[in-house]
Amino acid sequence: MNEQAPAIELKGISKAFGPVQANKDISIRVMPGTIHGIIGENGAGKSTLMSILYGFYKADAGAVFISGQKTAIPDSQAAIAAGIGMVFQHFKLVENFTVLENVVLGAESGARLGPSLAKARKELTQLAADYELNVDPDALIENIGVGMQQRVEILKALYRQADILILDEPTGVLTPAEADHLFRILEGLKAQGKTIILITHKLREIMEVTDTVSVMRRGEMTATVKTSETSPAELAELMVGRKVLLRVDKVPAQPKDMVLEVDNLEVIDDKGVKRLKGISLNVRAGEILGIAGVSGNGQSELLEVLGGIQSATGRVKLNGQDIDLTGKHSDGRSRRKRGIAHVPEDRQREGLIMDFKAWENVAFGYHHEEEYNAGLLMDQAAIKDDAAGKFTRFDVRPDNPMLEAKNFSGGNQQKIVLAREIERNPDLLLVGQPTRGVDIGAIEFIHQRIVELRDAGKAILLVSVELEEILSLSDRIAVIFDGQMMGEKLPNDTDEKELGLMMAGMTKEPDGPVHEAVEAQLAHVDGEAK
C-alpha cells in the first residue's frame, strides 16, 4: 500500500490574513480509501486550510498534489474538477429549491433543465441505494431536517464524482443517532474507496471513525498519528499545548432553597407559532439544571423569557416571589435587579457589542449602577478599573480591555460576558451555550467557574446543544422537545443515547432504524436549526 500515491498531499502551505498567520508551512498526506481527521481548536487554521484546498482562498506558498499530480486550485470549479467535494459547516443549499435542483445546480448536463433533472433523479436513486443516503428528491430544502440537508450536501459532492470528500464540523447540528448514521455513511464511502477528510474539534468523533489524525495548533500542524495509537488525552494535549482536564471536576451538589419555579410557561412568537407549550421546571440554590435539546425546540425562548427579552404567559417565581412576564417589569433591567444574570446563547449578537471596546462591554446592562456613574456622566475610570480587574480574575487574553470586543477569540469573548454576569453575584445564572465556538482550554476554565458559582450556593440554568457538556456539568437534566419537557434524568442514570431519543420526542427506542425515526420527529418542529 505504501507505494501508492497519496490521494491528497499538501506541501508547505502558508496563508496569512494581514498580520495573522492562519497556516504556517503545513504539509500533510492523506492516503486514498482512508478517513483522515483534522482536529484543532477554533482558530487553529483547519477551515482556512480546507478553504485553500477547495479554491476559496489562494495560498501564499506551498503546493497541492492530487493523486501524485501537482494541481493548481484557483477556484471551486477546479476543486470539483480535481474530484474534491466539500460539505461546509453551514450548508450551501438554496432553501426554496428542491433536493434535486440543489444537487443539479452547477452540474447540469445541458442548457435545458428537464433532461438534467431526469438524469439526476436516476443517479440519485442509485447513490441513495449504494450509500444509505436516502432523501426525497422533490422535497424543498426548507422543509427537511438538518440531517437530510447534510445528506443532500454529500449527494451533491458524489453527483459531481468526488473521490475526496471534506466534511467541516459535520456533527455540530446532529443528534447522536443522526451522527452515528453519518459515520455509517462515511464508513460505507470509505469501503467504496473514497477518501474522507473529517474536520472536527470533538475528540470522541476522531477516536470513533478516523484512521489517521492530524492535529493543528495556532496555524501549525503539530502531529499526524494513527488513531489506533493515540488517546483522547494525548490529542487534547497536542491541541492545546498543555495537559487538559477532559472531565469536569466537581463534588455532588448540595441543593438548598428553591430559587426558580416555572409553571406552565407558554410563548407564542410573531408568526403565531407556539414555541413553548406549557413548560414547568424548578432550580434550587446550589444546583445546575441542564436543559438538553436540539436547537430550535424552545430552549432559546425559555432563556429569553427568564432573561426578560420575550414576554410569555404562565407563572415564574424567583425566591418565592412572582416575576412580571408581560408588564413593564418584564425587561432585562428588572430581571437583573431581581438577581437574575444572563449569559445569552449568541454572545456576539446579544452578549456583546462587537464594535465597542471590551471595557465598555463590561458595563453593559449594569451601566445604571452607581459605581459606574459620577453624577451625570459615566465614571469611565471606574469602569476601566473594574474591567482590568475582571480581565485578570477571568484570565482574558490579550489582557487589554481597550481593544474592541471583536478582537478577542470566542473563548475570551465568552470570558468577558461571564465575568460581567458572574461577578454580579446573581441568585440565578442563566447560561446558554457557554462553550459554543470556545477552545478546549477555555472550556475547562468556563466550566470550573460555573461549578464554583454553584458551590457558592447559586442556582444555575444551563442550556446547551452539546450533550457532553450537559452530562458533565448538570446535577439534573431536563430534556426539551417541541416546546415541551420530555422529562428529567440524573446524569449518572442516563447516557447520550437515551437523551438523544428524548431530544427527538421519543421515550423508548423505535422499531425501525433510529436515525430515520429521529429525523421524522424533528422534521416537523419548525425550528431555527433549519
Binding site: S47, T48, S51, Y54, F56, D75, S76, Q77, A79, I80, A81, M86, F88, K92, L93, V94, E95, N96, F97, E101, N102, V104, L105, G106, A107, E108, G110, A111, R112, L113, G114, S116, K156
Partner: protein, 322 residues
C-alpha cells in the same frame, strides 16, 4: 358604457401596460439574480431619450431602438460595476442612476435640439407603426369577438407584442433552463452557486444585462411607440410602479403580466374621466384619477397583497466567506 368604449379602454390598457410590463420583467430578472434595481426609471428615461433622438436624426426607429437599448445597458453596466464589482449599496447606485438620467436627458436634448429639453416630434419612419394583425378586418363583423380582436388585440406597435411574448419567454428561461436555475439560485444563496463552481459575478452581470435590455425596449416604446418624441421626465414614475407591480407579482412572470395590466387599466381609466362619471353619476377630480395607480402602489406596498417573499440574497453584495 357601451361595448366600444370598453374596448377602447382595454385597448389603451394594453398600450399603457406595455412599458410597465417590460420594466417589471427587467426588474424581475435583476432581483431574481439578487440585485435590487430602483434605477429602472432612470434607464427607461435614458432609453426613451436616446431612441427618440436617434430616430429623429436618422429617421430610423430601429436604429432608435438600438440606441435606446445601448444607453439603458450602459447604465446597467454602471449599476453592475458599482453593486457587483465594487460591492456598493444597490439602492444608492439606483438612485444615482435615476438622478443622472433625469438631468442628463434634458441637458443633452437642449444641447442637441434647442427645443426646451425635448426632441423634435417624430414622423414617419421615426415611430413604430401600428401593426394590423391578419384577419382583423375580416373578423370585424363577427359579434363580440370580432371587434375585440380588431380593436384590442390588433393594431398595436410591434413592441407591444414583443412585451407580451417576453412573458412566456421569461417564464421558460427562469424555470426551464440551466441559466434560469442558476439565476434564481444566485438571488437566493450565492454561496451555494459559488461552491457549486459557478461564477456569481458572471450570473449577476447577466441578470443586470437582461434588465438593461428590457428597460431599453420599455424606454424606446415610451418615446417612439406610445408617444412621438421625448419630453422631459416622460417615464413619469413608471419605473417605480413597475417595482410595485413586481412585488405584487411575487417575482413571477405571469403574475407580472396580470399586475401590470391592472396598473395599465387604472392609467387607462384615468384618461377617460367621462366614462367613470357617466357610470358613477358624479364628478371625480381628474387629479384623483391620475393619482389612482400611485395610490394603489402605496396600498400594495403597505402589504395588502399577502406575503411576498423577495429573493433572500437580494440587495446584499456577495462576499466569499468560510
Amino acid at each position: 358604457m357601451d361595448y366600444l368604449t370598453l374596448l377602447q379602454i382595454l385597448d389603451s390598457t394594453l398600450r399603457l401596460a406595455t412599458p410597465l410590463l417590460l420594466a417589471c420583467l427587467a426588474g424581475l430578472f435583476s432581483e431574481r439574480g439578487g440585485i435590487f434595481d430602483i434605477g429602472l426609471e432612470g434607464k427607461m428615461l435614458a432609453a426613451a431619450f436616446f431612441s427618440a433622438a436617434t430616430a429623429a436624426m436618422t429617421g430610423s426607429v430601429w436604429l432608435g431602438l438600438l440606441a435606446g437599448i445601448a444607453s439603458s445597458m450602459a447604465l446597467s453596466g454602471l449599476h453592475g460595476l458599482a453593486s457587483i464589482t465594487f460591492r456598493g449599496n444597490q439602492l444608492i447606485s439606483g438612485v444615482a442612476i435615476n438622478f443622472l438620467a433625469s438631468g442628463l436627458t434634458v441637458l443633452i436634448a437642449q444641447s442637441w435640439f434647442q427645443q426646451g429639453g425635448r426632441t423634435p416630434s417624430l414622423i414617419g419612419g421615426g415611430r413604430f407603426e401600428e401593426v394590423t394583425l391578419p384577419f382583423a378586418d375580416a373578423l370585424r363583423d363577427v359579434p363580440v369577438f370580432g371587434p375585440f380582436y380588431a380593436e384590442v388585440i390588433s393594431g398595436h406597435t410591434i413592441l407591444v407584442y414583443v412585451a407580451l411574448l417576453c412573458v412566456p419567454l421569461s417564464w421558460y428561461i427562469l424555470f426551464r433552463t440551466r441559466f434560469g436555475l442558476r439565476l434564481r439560485a444566485v438571488g437566493e444563496n450565492p454561496a451555494a452557486v459559488d461552491t457549486a463552481g459557478v461564477s456569481v459575478i458572471g450570473l449577476r452581470f447577466a441578470a443586470v444585462g437582461i434588465c438593461g435590455l428590457l428597460c431599453g425596449i420599455a424606454g424606446a416604446y415610451l418615446s417612439t411607440g406610445l408617444g412621438a418624441g421625448f419630453v422631459k421626465e416622460m417615464s413619469a414614475g413608471r419605473g417605480f410602479i413597475a417595482l410595485a407591480a413586481l412585488i405584487f407579482a411575487k417575482w413571477r412572470p405571469w403574475y407580472a403580466l396580470y399586475a401590470t395590466l391592472l396598473f395599465g387599466f387604472l392609467q387607462a381609466i384615468a384618461l377617460r374621466p367621462d366614462v367613470l362619471e357617466s357610470m358613477l353619476q358624479f364628478k371625480i377630480q381628474v387629479q384623483l384619477l391620475d393619482a389612482l395607480p400611485y395610490i394603489l402602489t402605496v396600498v400594495i406596498l403597505a402589504g395588502f397583497v399577502g406575503k411576498a417573499i423577495p429573493p433572500r440574497a437580494g440587495g446584499e453584495p456577495y462576499v466569499k466567506e468560510r
